[in-house]
């Protein structure tokens, strides 16, 4: 176990918290720097300490430390500031032997770090103790990330179906759902499930060949292969996998050559009954300019959407995280957090870490009352970005067209009403994360109607500035919420503001229909 202990013997720290903080910061850095610089420079960095005195990072080599400090200090500071509220001086420590100790498990160099530190260790549950290290290495080599395992996935009503499908696929790859296709907006657990399937398969069948890549990595490998005239090894690698996990397949959109290559890879694996699992931020049919034959193949198996977690699930997720990371945060505090932060799981984790960090820094447990204050900015961010529900949109549109909201749901098709309905569909599509099918069922239509409406409205917006500005006006009112511009009619039509928390539950309802 101690082989994974970070080389900071003089500073006992709560590593799970730090690991998670680092994961979050990594995500931000990835966004601000781009994937390839991030992977090139930061992938093997660790966080060894973060306190008011400063931040200590452990670099995999002196050169990495120097180059990161010289070239990426500003984005680092802003990422830490975002997550911790402030950022002390950043210091780099180097552990040249760390990477060596990671790769050769019997390496005697690892002895240097055997100055034990029992408190640390992220719970890693593996069945065969003997081969734990080997599996870990294999998993890492396959591109799997350790923290994303089934054991620490918290299923809830929002992800029940996805969770069941993931387990079925891990138990019986290639037999149940081919392919398995997850889609959801970001931060809801697609990637976690993909990695989880990988780890679980590996545990059950240590010999199987598993590959986890993002579609972008796949693309880069492909381009690389073309350039080096080495398509054969590239194809061999992907086409001989037993389990191929591909994240962010929406990246395939608009890339014809890549799609062609992927199509063949897909067919080959499917023919041999090897399992393919895909994740995307939208359903296959909505990926931009994805070839019809790929769309149909993606739809072959099972497509599952992961919804936003409801209140209880959010609380369960955070309690689980708290226990995993051994944070001293009370249930009440967690309840306060989940009441406020309704965004994705990453936002939730960020809020929890913030709260725990503040507690650690101030050296006293945080009171439920103080939570709102501590996470105030996170909470605004999340609130601002997602607010509007289908019913709200319908109401706003009906107000604008001065018709009754029920007419929008009805069957009347006079020009004015049809237009209002189409505008409403268009707005629901652009302002919410609902899938086409969900939008369709919210309006009692089929999804073809929605596609048609969205297309038509887009076209009209392009053609007519006046139309566009009236749509924008509705949009602005919606996003701003109860602005003083609201007409008296709106007040009459608004019984009470819609329960925002019901989001996950509502989606589920729709799913059930």
């Amino acid at each position: 176990m101690h082989k994974h202990v970070p080389p900071d013997p003089n500073k006992p720290t709560n590593s799970p918290q730090l690991n998670l903080l680092w994961d979050n910061i990594s995500n931000d850095l990835r966004v601000s720097l781009g994937d390839s610089p991030f992977d090139l420079w930061f992938s093997d960095f660790r966080l060894a300490a973060a306190s008011s005195e400063g931040i200590v990072m452990v670099a995999p080599g002196t050169m990495y430390a120097i180059w990161v400090e010289e070239n990426f200090k500003t984005p680092l500071i802003s990422a830490f500031t975002k997550h911790l509220g402030s950022c002390g001086p950043i210091r780099f420590e180097v552990n040249e032997a760390a990477s060596a100790a990671f790769s050769d498990d019997q390496d005697s160099e690892a002895g240097e770090f055997e100055r034990e530190e029992p408190a640390r260790v992220v719970p890693r549950i593996l069945v065969e103790k003997v081969s734990e290290q080997k599996l870990l290495e294999k998993g890492r080599a396959a591109g799997l990330v350790e923290i994303f395992r089934f054991e620490n996935f918290v299923p809830g009503e929002n992800s029940e179906l996805a969770w069941a499908a993931a387990r079925a696929v891990a138990d019986q790859p290639g037999k149940t759902y081919q392919p398995l296709f997850f889609h959801s907006s970001c931060g809801l657990g697609k990637t976690h499930l993909l990695h989880g399937i990988g780890w679980e398969s590996l545990r059950q069948r240590p010999k199987s060949k598993i590959i986890f890549v993002t579609a972008e990595q796949f693309a880069n490998d492909y381009i690389d292969a073309i350039q080096k005239n080495a398509l054969v090894p590239f194809r061999k690698r992907y086409r001989e996998a037993d389990l191929l996990l591909i994240d962010d397949v929406q990246f395939l959109g608009r890339k014809e050559g890549l799609q062609r290559e992927f199509f063949h890879t897909f067919n080959r694996l499917a023919d041999q009954r090897k399992q393919i699992v895909l994740a995307s931020d939208c359903p296959a049919s909505e990926i931009n300019e994805l070839e019809e034959r790929l769309v149909s193949r993606f739809q072959w198996g099972l497509g599952v959407e992961i919804h936003r977690p409801g209140l209880e699930t959010r609380a369960a997720i955070l309690r689980r995280k708290r226990d995993d990371w051994r944070m001293a945060v009370s249930d009440e505090v967690i309840d306060r957090i989940v009441e406020r932060v309704r965004g994705n799981v990453r936002a939730l984790e960020g809020a929890l870490i913030r709260v725990a960090m503040v507690a650690t820094l101030s050296e006293e447990p945080i009171s439920p009352e103080k939570v709102a204050e501590v996470i105030a900015d996170l909470y605004h961010e999340v609130e601002d970005s997602r607010q509007v529900g289908t019913e709200e949109i319908k109401r706003a549109v009906s107000e604008h067209y001065d018709i009754d909201v029920n007419i929008i749901n009805g069957k009347k098709r006079t020009a004015r009403i049809a237009e209002a309905r189409q505008v409403a569909m268009f707005l629901v599509r652009s302002l919410t994360d609902l899938s086409l099918v969900e939008v369709a069922s919210a309006f009692g239509k089929d999804h073809g109607t929605v596609i048609y409406a969205v297309k038509k409205m887009k076209k009209r917006c392009e053609d007519s500035a006046a139309f566009k500005s009236s749509v924008e006006l509705i949009k602005r009112r919606l996003v701003r919420g109860g602005s003083p511009m609201e007409s008296p009619r709106a007040k009459r039509n608004t019984p009470a503001s819609p329960p925002r928390l019901g989001y996950g539950a509502k989606s589920l309802e729709l799913e059930a229909e």
Binding site: P37, G61, M63, I66, Q227
Partner: protein, 365 residues
């Protein structure tokens, strides 16, 4: 001590040794040059305790002896002397009289015994290399040395001998220059040392385009013997970081460009480089490279040059100084710029064993 020497010879010798002398030193003796006269001629030495240079010159010595005199002052006096023949005499109080035609100078010096003795050179490995080779290699790398004193291991050129190669590397964390020259070394001479900036600069001044030099390396010192000069320097202690970690192993695109054309264009465009970010943009597309700069409050500049490039449009921002530095110090007509993408390090190469890694700058918009 008494001798007669030719002005040109004396002046050259003083010029070569006087750079070591620091103008702001706490020890007055360190601003002096040690002059030692023996039967064979003169030996001039200066030191800053880290680097010591000794130069031998021919002179007609009437009586032997040694003294120290203020180096800079002596050099400027000699430069101005009216005739080519200089008569030099130093009395027991270290007061020197300098006569040249109608001119007469008296300069007060310090006793030679106060001059620091260069530390004993321990067991050393010795070898001989081509002067031009070392000169070129230092010229191609030394500009990338870090000036950040908190990273003292980077304040020099890392010099590795081994595996049939002489490798010289310098980096400051934003760019890295490396020369890797095939060289036959007798087995058992593998070594890696970090030569401090000052010694590198002095050495470059001493190196010629022909001939050889003798190098001796001990644990903490290195000496270089060439053209009648002897330079001895402390080495930077510590391990040079594994620089290969930052050298991209492959590239996706190669741009071929004329060195001087690129250098001139970058120099012009950089006049309007954004002062805040100090970066200029390089847009590669279809055999052309558009170099542009934009300073919100000053103005903008653009220059398009012909290059050989057939990849997709790539826009990369670099610090112009970091692009110009290697270009100035190379001789080849053609340089290659290898790129992976817009945000990964770029590599400048030539047809010879040289490479230069440069980090792109992040630019918004």
């Amino acid at each position: 001590m008494k001798f007669q020497i030719e002005k040109d010879v004396f002046q050259d010798a003083l010029n070569q040794v006087q750079h070591v002398v620091s103008s702001r030193t706490t020890l007055p003796i360190l601003s002096n040059v040690l002059i030692r006269a023996d039967e064979l001629g003169l030996e001039l030495s200066t030191t800053d305790l880290d680097v010591t240079i000794t130069k031998r010159v021919a002179a007609k010595v009437a009586s032997t002896g040694a003294t120290t005199l203020p180096a800079r002052r002596l050099a400027s006096i000699v430069r101005e002397l009216p005739t080519n023949e200089i008569d030099f005499e130093v009395n027991a109080d270290n007061a020197a009289t300098v006569k040249s035609g109608p001119s007469f100078f008296k300069i007060l010096g310090l006793p030679a015994s106060e001059f620091p003795v260069i530390g004993e050179f321990g067991e050393a490995r010795e070898f001989t290399i081509d002067q031009k080779l070392l000169r070129d290699a230092l010229r191609k790398t030394s500009y990338a040395i870090s000036t950040d004193e908190t990273r003292y291991v980077l304040n020099g050129v890392n010099c590795i001998i081994g595996e049939g190669m002489l490798t010289l590397v310098a980096t400051d964390g934003r760019r890295l220059a490396m020369v890797e020259q095939d060289l036959e070394f007798p087995a058992g001479n593998e070594t890696g040392v970090i030569i401090p900036t000052k010694a590198v600069n002095e050495l470059q001044r001493l190196l010629d385009v022909s001939g050889e030099l003798k190098v001796a390396i001990s644990d903490n010192q290195a000496s270089f013997e060439l053209n009648g000069s002897f330079l001895i320097t402390k080495l930077i202690e510590g391990n040079y970081p594994n620089f290969r970690q930052v050298i991209p192993s492959q590239a996706n695109y190669r741009v071929t460009v004329e060195r001087e054309v690129l250098l001139a264009a970058v120099r012009r465009v950089s006049l309007l480089a954004n002062e805040k970010t100090n970066s200029i943009k390089f847009a590669f597309e279809d055999n052309r490279l558009a170099i542009s700069a934009n300073s919100p409050e000053i103005g903008e500049a653009e220059e398009v040059i012909d290059v050989r490039y057939s990849g997709p449009r790539l826009v990369v921002a670099f610090n112009p100084e970091f692009v110009m530095a290697p270009l100035r110090n190379l001789d080849q007509d053609e340089v290659f710029i290898d790129l992976i993408d817009e945000s990964s390090p770029g590599v400048i190469k030539i047809d010879e064993p040289f490479l230069y890694v440069i980090m792109p700058m992040r630019v918004a918009g």
